[in-house]
């Protein structure tokens, strides 16, 4: 199958005083459409940095990034903004909802950013998809951590992106809620046809993923395709 996103020989260095820290070292990854891929590794392995580069939030020191059929490595900020607006979405560990907007408005906000029509049905469908149809007009501080994360997921899918990057989305949640979130991602992949790329420490989550890349010290040390066993 075609890779919707691909990273070739990606290197990333960060300056630290007079030295440079090599966070990623010739990483090669590709992600197929409509799959759930997990990037796993301990803290400091470079998985978040890799995700940021693939998600256009950062640029590699060297190497190339291909997304949606084009080389996006050297695109301008404006073009990268467009990609993030239309094709890519994020779910963060810290949730990061807009505190002065209700659940509905947070999801609607994404449509505004993407300059898409304010489709009320679509918004309510997304909220229903994540199981929050009875909490539509609640403010973020009126929701639990898990509920807030679900709103974030609804926000991430409302504008029909092609790829969702989820950086440790269940890190602050209990195991039951984490399972719910993971199943939600599967449902979204099936119903919305998105590709989900996720980082996590959670071993249980990895069993549910289609593919798992393991990073250590900025390198891919293993790759497992769980679909072969199913």
């Amino acid at each position: 199958m075609n890779a919707i996103i691909k990273g070739v020989d990606i290197c990333r260095q960060f300056p630290s005083g007079n030295k440079k820290i090599q966070v990623l070292n010739n990483v090669n990854v590709d992600f197929e459409e409509k799959t759930l891929t997990v990037l796993k590794g301990r803290s400091g392995s470079g998985k978040t940095t890799l995700m940021n580069i693939l998600g256009t939030l950062d640029r590699p020191t060297s190497g190339r990034v291909f997304a949606f059929g084009e080389d996006i490595t050297d695109l301008s900020e404006g073009k990268l903004d467009e990609i993030r607006k239309n094709n890519v979405s994020f779910v963060f560990q810290s949730v990061a909802l807009m505190g002065t907007m209700s659940a509905y408005e947070n999801v609607e906000f994404m449509l505004r950013i993407a300059k898409k029509p304010m489709d009320k049905e679509r918004i309510l469908h997304c909220l229903d998809l994540v199981g929050l149809s009875n909490r539509v007009y609640h403010m973020p501080y009126q929701l639990s951590g898990g509920e807030q994360q679900r709103v974030a997921i609804a926000r991430a899918i409302v504008h029909r992106p092609k790829v969702i990057f989820a950086d440790e989305p269940t890190a602050q949640l209990d195991s039951e809620t984490s399972k719910v979130i993971m199943n939600m991602f599967h449902r979204i992949i099936e119903e919305e046809g998105v590709t989900v790329i996720m980082t996590t420490h959670d071993q249980n989550m990895m069993e549910l993923a289609d593919k798992v890349y393991t990073l250590d010290d900025g390198k891919i040390v293993s790759y497992v395709d769980n679909r072969e066993g199913r």
Partner: protein, 952 residues
């Protein structure tokens, strides 16, 4: 704990620096009040005393007591009852008095001594040259001495006298030029001096001393001269020591003593004013006890000036307190707001500390250390800074206007340190209040409280707004309707004035934060489908104002409102004072010219106009008439309390300085009416009423000269009816003390001159010549024109205008309002900038998320700018409106500060557009700085790092 506190300060540099600035401003303003008030009071006292000196020609720091030694009662003297006729009594009285003055009076004046002297003199005696065989050539002389003789004179011939008898056994003496001219004595003359003429004629002298003239002197020209005497041309001066020993002690010839003290009143110690008044009262009492109260000639510092000083100080203090109260409240609010920002920033940390077992007082102590360092530094620095600030304010010549002036005497008093201390305590308590509240919240409760607080907060806000509205409306009603103004009968400010100001500003600010979000929500509801992400986000955020936004909105509204209020109050005070001075003194000089017929002449007194074509003098004649009257053909005759003015319109126009906003039309309009219709007249409203409701176009009969009968009237059409005219007051205070109406008629001189050109007149002029020069000119020109003329009742308008400008009360108001305005703008700038920095910094995660979601830098920048407009710009606009409204409501109450008879021109609220421009410039600069700062901060936010920071 201290190290932790210092570390927190450095971690939060911008916020702590702003907090420190706020604390410093609060303490500095508090400290400045007593220092500035004392400095202005001192300047006011010096000005009053200088005026006293100019008018009375005597130094206000002088004490002169001159009396006959024989007039003392018997009780005087340390030795108890003394026989009045005992020769030792005079010496005892003199010594006793000298000791008393030196020990008890002069030190209690608390003025640095410039000169102190004692004079002794004899009664009138007779002197003749020993060699003059014609004993009828005797002169009346007085033998004098002064212990500071050499400081008051300069020898022009000969030398100073010796302190002992010379080789020939003579007493050496000197005489003044006037005495030399009067007596024809000269250097080298040896005089016999006796009590009676016969003593010398009979060759018997009461003294066995001869006096040799060794020098001629003239007086030193100085405002302070120890030789206090009106030179009668008969004084003969002996060395003081010699006089005392030989003439006073041995021969008891001294009959009069004069004690003179001159102090530098410009360096008077204000703190000792009560001591001085007591000392002067004691002196007066002692003079009575000694029996010389009626016979002694005394000059003492003007006690009434010092006593009125206290009233003036009180007036200044209450005005300063009134104008500073809103500013101090604002500064305290500023400190509270910044402290709240700090606590908001640290709330998680505080809640965590609490959850980990930290006691409440430990947390409070931590913040006490942080803020306490700032307060201590503020208390140490502020007194010195206030000295500099007060010197700067002392140069204020108007609101936000400064001129080169002589420096004000500024002293740090104990009050200044006390004010510093109390301001420091207040700022500490204000700063710790939010900390104390936050310190009791645990981390779980902290998150739960957010739900409750929003509902409770809105209800509380509504109640507060309602209460403030009610209080301000009620207090204003009572001030205006029932109490009739700002001041109590005792001269202090009505407490309700403070209540009104504070509650009004609070109401405006609270009303804004209560209703404005609802207004924005309404707009959002109507327009949300069309709004872009940036604008929508901005509206959403501001329409759901959180605590921080509410604080900054209240703060900006209050700051700007108080700034505008200060400017309106200052302009209204200054403008009305300036207007009323100019109304009363519209040109440099206004003077009557009195004419007298030459001595022995039976002719009519001639009154030619003497100031035609005088170089350096621009003048005009204002004819006063001779018992003028005005009436209608069938109506009442008006010939009492009539201000009659015959003017030459063109000249009048060029001489007079007039505020064209007083009358409905510019002055030139009315002058043109009279110029174009020379027979016409302008009358006052009360004149029109008394004459039977005369209207414009009606004809009145004007008789400028009651002495002329027959056709000596002007049939004058009324060209205009006015309520004001240069120097005209519709109400005057009669002898009875009651107000009486004063009527006005203005006509063209050309119409008067057809009837008579020899009527009494005034001269109004603009000139740089002195009054003495003008008086001389009048006499000369009068003589040239065959008449005798003198200037009388000369009004020096230029001087009055100058005195009005340097009036210390006015300076105090201008200085304090200028300081208030500057302080307000300073903390507004600090608060504004710091709010935006905190706002952006605290939303780093949110902004990073927005970037991650696809919002461009431009979108986010637009969002921030939109928030700034919705929150800050609207707060500022409301503040301007509230400031103008408060000024319009409050400024009329200041009218009670005016005590002039029938305030003219009518009291008006004044506002200078330039003040609004200054304010606009400050705001534009602030906005520009915030735009640049926001841009820089936003550019530095990288989405990836921002999100990572948020997760941490």
């Amino acid at each position: 704990m201290l190290r932790f506190a210092i570390k927190k300060i450095f971690n939060n540099k911008a916020l702590m620096l702003s907090l420190f600035a706020g604390i410093l401003v609060a303490i500095l303003i508090s400290c400045t009040i007593p220092v500035y008030s004392a400095g202005i009071s001192h300047r006011m006292l010096v000005t009053q005393l200088e005026n006293y000196q100019n008018e009375n020609k005597v130094s206000p720091g002088a004490v002169i007591i001159s009396c006959s030694l024989a007039a003392f009662k018997q009780e005087t003297g340390e030795g108890g009852v003394v026989d009045k006729f005992d020769s030792s009594a005079n010496i005892l009285n003199f010594n006793y008095c000298t000791d008393y003055l030196n020990a008890s009076l002069f030190p209690e004046l608390y003025m640095p001594e410039i000169v102190k002297s004692t004079s002794l003199s004899t009664t009138t005696m007779f002197a003749g040259d020993k060699r003059d065989t014609n004993k009828s050539n005797l002169n009346e002389v007085v033998l004098c001495s002064n212990d500071k003789l050499t400081e008051g004179i300069e020898i022009i011939d000969g030398r100073l006298p010796s302190g002992t008898l010379n080789d020939k056994g003579f007493v050496e003496v000197i005489i003044s030029k006037a005495t030399q001219s009067n007596t024809k004595f000269s250097v080298g003359n040896v005089l016999e001096v006796g009590m009676l003429k016969e003593d010398i004629l009979e060759e018997y002298t009461d003294t066995d001393l001869s006096f040799e003239i060794v020098g001629i002197f003239d007086y030193v020209s100085s405002a302070v001269n120890p030789i206090i005497t009106n030179d009668s041309g008969n004084e003969i001066y002996v060395d003081y020591g010699l006089f005392f020993n030989e003439l006073f002690v041995k021969k008891n010839l001294a009959s009069k003593a004069t004690w003179y003290f001159a102090g530098d009143y410009t360096k008077y110690n204000l703190d000792k004013i009560k001591n001085t008044i007591n000392a002067l009262d004691n002196l007066n009492n002692n003079l009575v006890v000694w029996g010389i109260a009626e016979s002694a000639a005394t000059v003492t510092p003007p006690i009434d000036q010092y006593q009125s000083y206290f009233d003036n100080v009180r007036a200044i203090n209450v005005l300063l307190a009134l104008f500073y109260t809103p500013i101090l409240i604002l500064v305290v609010f500023f400190i509270f707001m910044l402290s709240k920002f700090v606590v908001e920033n640290d709330k998680n940390e505080i809640a965590m500390l609490n959850s980990r077992g930290a006691a409440r007082k430990q947390i409070v102590l931590l913040y006490l250390l942080q803020g306490g360092l700032a307060v201590v530094a503020g208390i140490l620095i502020s007194p010195l800074l206030s000295l500099i600030l007060c010197r700067f304010l002392g140069a204020s010549s108007g609101f936000l206007e400064f001129a080169q002036r002589a420096p004000m005497k500024i002293v740090l008093s104990s009050s200044a340190y006390l004010f510093c201390f109390f301001a420091g305590v207040l700022t500490i308590l204000t700063m710790l209040l939010p900390v104390y509240n936050a310190a009791k919240i645990e981390i779980v409760q902290h998150k739960r409280n957010r739900v409750k607080s929003s509902v409770l907060g809105t209800v509380l806000l509504g109640v507060l707004t309602f209460v403030c509205a009610g209080v301000s409306a009620y207090s204003y009603y009572v001030l205006v309707m029932q109490q009739g103004g700002l001041f109590t009968a005792g001269g202090s400010i009505q407490p309700l004035a403070y209540v009104f100001l504070i509650s009004f500003f609070a109401f405006v600010a609270l009303f804004f934060v209560l209703l404005y979000p609802l207004f924005l929500k309404l707009i959002l509801l109507i327009t949300k489908k069309k709004l872009s992400a940036s604008i929508y986000s901005a509206f959403s955020r501001i329409s759901r104002m959180e605590i921080r936004e509410k604080f900054i909105a209240i703060f900006l509204t209050l700051t700007v409102a108080i700034g505008v209020f200060s400017s309106i109050s200052a302009r209204t005070l200054n403008g009305n004072i300036q207007s009323s001075i100019r109304y009363q003194y519209p040109c440099d000089i206004i003077t009557d010219v009195k004419y007298y017929a030459p001595v022995g002449s039976q002719n009519q007194v001639l009154r030619p106009y003497l100031f035609e074509d005088v170089e350096g003098v621009e003048s005009t004649k204002v004819t006063l008439g001779n018992e003028p009257s005005v009436n209608t053909r069938f109506g009442k005759r008006l010939n009492y309390n009539l201000t009659f003015m015959g003017i030459t319109p063109d000249e009048f126009s060029s001489i007079v300085e007039w505020d064209d906003t007083i009358l409905p039309q510019p002055l030139s309009y009315y002058l043109d009416l009279i110029k174009n219709q020379p027979e016409g007249c302008i009358i006052s409203e009360n004149t029109a009423k008394v004459l039977g409701n005369v209207e414009v176009g009606d004809t009145v009969l004007i008789r400028p000269d009651a002495a002329l009968r027959g056709m000596s009237v002007i049939n004058s059409p009324v060209l205009a009816i006015v309520e004001a005219w240069p120097t005209y007051y519709a109400d005057v205070e009669a002898v009875s003390g009651e107000n009486e109406s004063n009527f006005l008629v203005v006509v063209n001189n050309s119409a008067i001159e057809k009837i008579s050109d020899n009527l009494p007149h005034q001269v109004w002029m603009n000139t740089d010549k002195s009054i003495a020069e003008l008086k001389r000119l009048t006499i000369e020109r009068g003589a040239q024109n065959g008449t005798s003329a003198r200037l009388e009742n000369v009004i020096n308008g230029k001087r009055e205008v100058y005195l009005g400008e340097i009036n210390p009360v006015r300076q105090a108001v201008n200085g304090s309002l200028s300081l208030g305005f500057i302080a307000v703008m300073l903390i507004c700038a600090i608060g504004f900038i710091i709010y935006w920095m905190i706002s952006i910094k605290s939303r780093t995660l949110q902004i990073g998320t927005m970037r991650a979601l696809g919002m461009s830098f431009k979108n986010i920048f637009s969002m921030i700018m939109c928030e700034e407009c919705l929150l800050c710009v609207s707060s500022i606009v409301l503040g301007v409106g509230a400031g103008i409204l408060s000024g319009v409501l409050f400024a009329p109450l200041l009218q009670s500060a005016f005590t002039q008879m029938g305030q003219m021109p009518p009291y008006r609220i004044m506002f200078q557009f330039t003040d609004l421009i200054k304010l606009a410039i400050i705001i534009i600069v602030l906005l520009a700085v915030s735009v640049v700062a926001a841009s820089i901060m936003l550019k530095r936010i990288k989405a990836a790092s921002a999100i990572k920071l948020g997760e941490e």
